[in-house]
Symmetry: C2
Subunit: 243 residues, 2 copies
């Protein structure tokens, strides 16, 4: 048991959730390592939502609200950490939720779908086809989901896939704690924040954003600004830690 007053309680609880989900076959072994990388960046960011990340989350809400066909792509780590938050975001946006795995097995797709449905997520189903410009099973997606969406949220996504989605002309919203990653650089909008902090902020903004504000947020999107702000935040924290 992790004591509640531990200064890094939240991070440690989330770490345990990932390890449990790996033992249950929901998270791939590679996902456990990827979570560790994210943890390190979150530690450097200060384990908090920065001002610029909050603006990115508000902007993500604007993109969802103006989308014709929004999709949320969910992998094992996302399902393990934030099934409830995905359900809330789906309710606020009406987005389709598609299970899309990098280390894909039918068994994992089933387990993740069941976990999401338990939390009230409506999971898109159908025949997976090789429609993405990627090799092997990484090309698999649903024609009526990711393939034809206009706006897609990819929490914790691999760089190749994020680039492929961007190349297909989609507006890609990434959640990635590493502001230097290929995912962060190739997305239309990158939220440099931890998943379970980021999702409720997007959901929250959906209920109070109005027409003009939505348009302005979308017009002003400058992904490089978000990435530079995150790097500056990390550098500031490193400089403070040296004192």
């Amino acid at each position: 048991m992790i004591p509640r007053d531990h200064p890094r309680y939240r991070s440690l609880v989330i770490r345990e959730r990932i390890a449990d989900a790996a033992l249950k076959g929901i998270v791939a072994m590679e996902g456990v390592g990827a979570h560790g990388r994210g943890e390190a960046f979150d530690y450097l960011i200060g384990e908090k939502t920065t001002e610029s990340a909050l603006l990115a989350e508000k902007t993500a809400a604007a993109l969802f609200l103006s989308a014709k066909k929004p999709v949320i792509s969910v992998n094992g780590n996302t399902a393990a950490l934030a099934a409830q938050e995905i359900a809330d975001l789906q309710e606020a946006t009406g987005a389709a939720v598609e299970v899309n795995l990098f280390h894909r097995t039918e068994k994992r797709v089933e387990k993740i779908t069941a976990l999401l449905e338990e939390e009230g997520v409506e999971v898109l189903k159908g025949k997976f086809e090789r429609l993405l410009p990627l090799s092997h099973d990484r090309a698999l997606c649903l024609r009526d989901g990711i393939y034809t969406c206009d706006v897609i949220l990819v929490p914790l996504e691999d760089g190749d896939r994020c680039s492929a989605l961007s190349a297909m002309g989609k507006t890609v919203i990434a959640i990635d704690l590493n502001p230097l990653s290929r995912t962060a650089k190739s997305a239309s909008l990158t939220i440099v924040d931890e998943l379970t902090r980021a999702l409720p902020n997007i959901t929250g903004s959906c209920s109070h954003l109005k027409g003009e504000e939505i348009e302005k947020l979308i017009r002003d999107i400058d992904n490089k600004y978000f990435l530079r702000s995150a790097v500056k935040e990390i550098m500031g924290n490193l400089a403070d830690a040296m004192d």
Copy 2:
């Protein structure tokens, strides 16, 4: 298969080795996440041995050469990544090698011992007693090994244990890629470098360091300098990445 010309080939091969070792029960699930955190810091350090890390490695060799009773503490991640390099360091220094696990089970101790022995390491054995100032099984060590050593190398060690060893008056050499960690701060000497790069450098220095040079290296130890240098390296890399 990871293509040999991939810019991050080495890091990806090492990542696979950790995942394989986790499936075999050598590395704990927590070790997979910890490896991911290390990877993120190595990425920020530039996946290379910095000048200051090389000096720390040379200094570690000096500490080994002047020790009366040196010990190398080996956990699951260390055994999975560097059993051969541990064998070489043992040969160069005559240090005892003790298996010491944070997530301890008898089965894992046996598996790790077998893996080390396969690579030619002579593993210290005996009756594990609760001799360290730590709770539960984390206090376990060998009386003739860690308990009575004067110099101890702890690659990839937890902060509580590193502090406990320091509090016992031992000279603790840590290998840790996070220059801000409690381990890095509480060790007598911290090598901020990746394990499989660091160990051969220590071993290499053992064969050519001479009396006076050894004394000077030990006299000049300034762990804060090594930590600050690593932080500065990371900040420089971040600044470059923003351009």
